[in-house]
């Protein structure tokens, strides 16, 4: 695999991939290493890190194991980030392809709706959505996707506008293919690469938005989230700063890892595209 080799040639991409792999392992290993409720009280309150071997990162204000929370928080962050990005890319690709391929009034209506969503700050949109519908994991994913699908929709539309004039689309019409099949089977797959290039930015933004929502108390209350941990730690920021620093650093590393790995993928495919 040439592309894979090219991907691993850049040190940034390797660093990103390593961080993401570590994060995946944390997320997958969480229920094995820390079975039971991570929100249960595990020891004395506000135990500093590296003091007690069974609780290496100490405990929070209520005596919960910070390391266990960190691992379970990785699950939430990754799940929400990936699910929201996947939903945003799916909605964006479908809307953009429909608009670009149908043209005319359909295009006009869909793109004005896209404009409308794009002019509202996506975080406010997510905030409003969650406070109306109520916080749960699915709602948080939907709320984030709601503000993130416009970018992919625009890129997909621009790509489709150029692809729909190609001969093979005319050829598909000549053999009598249904317009929906032409749009989603012939055109969409060829319009995807530049849309997928947006995915790392969207995943990173989704993870941050989820953390921000949780920080404001609008995350799923039944799940540990890094944003929620930072919010918890905020009240004791002077006496126990590590409670905010540990999930904060995890968040920074995660977003960094997603960016770097995403850039690596885009770079390696960009070279391939320009060569072919």
């Amino acid at each position: 695999m040439n592309r894979l080799r090219r991907f691993f040639r850049s040190p940034e991409a390797i660093a990103g991939a390593l961080i993401l792999a570590l994060l995946m392992m944390m997320a997958l290993a969480a229920p094995l290493l820390f079975p039971g409720d991570p929100q249960a009280i595990a020891g004395p309150a506000l135990l500093p890190p590296f003091q007690d071997w069974p609780l290496p990162l100490g405990t929070d204000r209520l005596g919960r194991d910070v390391l266990a929370e960190l691992f379970h928080g990785a699950r939430t962050s990754l799940a929400v980030g990936l699910a929201a990005a996947a939903a945003a890319l799916l909605i964006g690709a479908v809307v953009g392809t429909s608009a670009g391929f149908a043209g005319g009034l359909v295009d006009e209506v869909l793109m004005r709706i896209t404009d409308a969503f794009q002019t509202v700050p996506s975080f406010l949109l997510a905030l409003a959505f969650v406070s109306i519908v109520g916080p749960s994991l699915g709602v948080v994913v939907a709320a984030i996707a709601l503000g993130a699908w416009t970018g992919p929709a625009r890129v997909a539309r621009a790509e489709v506008l150029s692809i729909r004039e190609r001969d093979y689309v005319a050829g598909a019409r000549v053999i009598g293919m249904h317009p929906l099949e032409i749009a989603f089977r012939e055109v969409l797959p060829n319009a995807l690469p530049p849309v997928l290039a947006l995915s790392s930015v969207i995943v990173a933004a989704a993870i941050l938005t989820e953390a921000a929502l949780s920080f404001l108390g609008l995350g799923d209350p039944n799940r540990v989230t890094w944003g929620g941990m930072i919010a918890e730690g905020r009240t004791v920021l002077r006496t126990a700063p590590f409670l905010s620093i540990v999930p904060g650093v995890a968040l920074v590393l995660t977003v960094l890892g997603v960016y770097l790995a995403g850039e690596g993928v885009v770079e390696s495919t960009a070279v391939r595209r320009s060569l072919s």
């Binding site: 093979y168 019409r173 000549v174 053999i175 293919m177 249904h178 012939e186 060829n190």
Partner: protein, 258 residues
Amino acid sequence: MSVLAVSNLAKRYRRGGEPFAAVDDVSFEIEQAETLALAGPSGSGKSTIARLVLRLIGPDAGRIDFEGHDFLALSGAALRARRARLQMVFQDPLAAFNPRATVARVLDDPLRMHNIASRTERPRHIAALLQRVGLDAGLAARAIHEISGGQRQRVAIARAIATRPSLIVLDEAVSALDVSVRGQILELLLDLQRQERIAYLFISHDLGVIRAIAHRVVILDAGRVAESGDARTVIANPQSAIGKALVAATPRLIRNRP
């Protein structure tokens, strides 16, 4: 009864704000198993006529009768069903296929869409089609970009004949091929016409090729019919100015052949 009858066809475009007629009052007919060539310089409206006949674009005026029915009156599912009888081969065989497609998929699509063969029968049909156009049946598994230009144009012809059409529009179908491959493809087209009684609307700027394959020729100039008639007669003794210019521009080797 003619397979295709086009009468008073017109299509106008805007060029730099000015309206201009790409196709202006063009009429012609094609009989079964006949090849009609459309010749003319670049911009004379050849390809626009092809796209109009195939309903890829709509005309501003005129009438198209295909197999005795008003082809312009069809829409939706009825149009898609009728398209099985009217196929096309493009100039650039690479651009004419989805870059992700395999040979099998390209040939599977028309068979599936027009219910010509069931899912289990289709691989056999595809192999037969490939053999019909002189290709190895093992080519089916290959990606479109992996095969040569000549092979690709054969696949395009296989796709066009998959639905048993009565008319195939060939838009500069041999212009992008090198000379030896061009001869083979023309042979294949003549052979298919003899056996399946397919009519061709053959679009080309190359009078040598037209002389080899077409029965009749229509010479276009700026969207209008300049002259038309028996292909050999017209090419041997053109009457219109544009006809004379086209013949003069053709290499001597072809003109001097008896």
